[in-house]
Symmetry: C3
Subunit: 146 residues, 3 copies
């Protein structure tokens, strides 16, 4: 059994941003030489999430609206007071809502690999989602198999 791990980078320009990382993930699988196995995508960040669906811009807008409704930005989050109360290290962002969205959606995805290819529907894309941009972030891609 082989394990191959690589990081990819995404850089958000706006507060909430969806990155379609499907082709970058496939490149890591290609580099691994693994033909059959398991893909793990993991976001080592507390204001990011991973999600899978159709990369259709209007749909992404719809889904953002759903997330805004569930976790509104203009609610009060106690975490924001915590951030304000810290003297150092905090960058003063009111990002309680970003953490909650990450909590809800989750930071990892696992997918099957068959004959060296991600076994997904051509309409499915893997998204790394930033909820507290703009920032530079890395995403961990791990391939495990034979």
């Amino acid at each position: 059994m082989k394990i191959h791990r690589q990081k990819i980078e995404v850089e958000s320009k706006t507060q909430i941003e969806f990155f379609d990382i499907t082709s970058q993930v496939q490149e890591v699988i290609d580099a691994s030489g693994i033909r059959e196995g398991l893909l793990l995508v993991f976001a080592p960040h507390t204001t990011m999430a991973l999600a899978i669906n159709h990369n259709e811009p209007m749909l992404i807008q719809d889904f953002m609206r759903v997330l805004y409704k569930i976790v509104p930005m203009d609610d009060r989050y106690s975490h924001d007071l915590f951030e304000l109360s810290k003297n150092s290290k905090s960058d003063g962002r009111s990002n309680g809502h970003s953490h909650c969205k990450s909590f809800l959606l989750g930071v990892s995805e696992t997918l099957p690999i068959e004959k060296g290819k991600l076994l997904i529907n051509p309409n499915q894309s893997i998204f790394a989602v930033e909820f507290d941009g703009s920032r530079k972030r890395d995403i961990t891609i791990q391939v495990m198999g034979i």
Copy 2:
């Protein structure tokens, strides 16, 4: 290490349908001969999801109601306009809400396998959920282990 992969089929008759696929998943594990390892269930579809809980019909009704409240069918979804604007290929479904539910719940589940059996609580069932039925769909079951 061995990897075994199989597809199972589900066919929805109504718009939203929960399929308890637990026993079919166990059959795939049996067929694999794998005794210790990891199960991955993956839905290669953008209006489906996978979820785990008690197979109790009234609870499923409750959970459907929660999902309807979070992602109402009678809201306006921009994705539905996108679908309408396509001349070909679209089947004209207003399924923006279905995609959003799939986005939120996720399309995969991973579980432990011990002594050839799914290591779950007898009260837990694995559900493949269709949010845009009726349709025929396949679900990928992958067993990895020794």
Copy 3:
């Protein structure tokens, strides 16, 4: 390839409780001797969930508030009538809302292991969440790798 599996216990004192199990998970990885691979944390319970984010008490309060808003405790859940209608075995809890929260958040998490360590951000914690305490529960930790 090696597979190592262990259970850890959590005991809730209140109805909803977040347990930071990150260090216990790391201890299981240490015990496994596995250096590179995949961690699976799985809750074999229908009113629990697993989630990952910053262990900051005010943030956890915020996230609990989000969950309460999505799945309110004071709504009517048909499952609660089902529980009441059973003569035996039921402990009479009105826990429809707890099941729905578990359904929504999910009962497993998968993470990468590098050089014998969980490859997570120091700000990330793995939480086992009980939605129907107080209870004693076990969580399954599985390490797979080389």
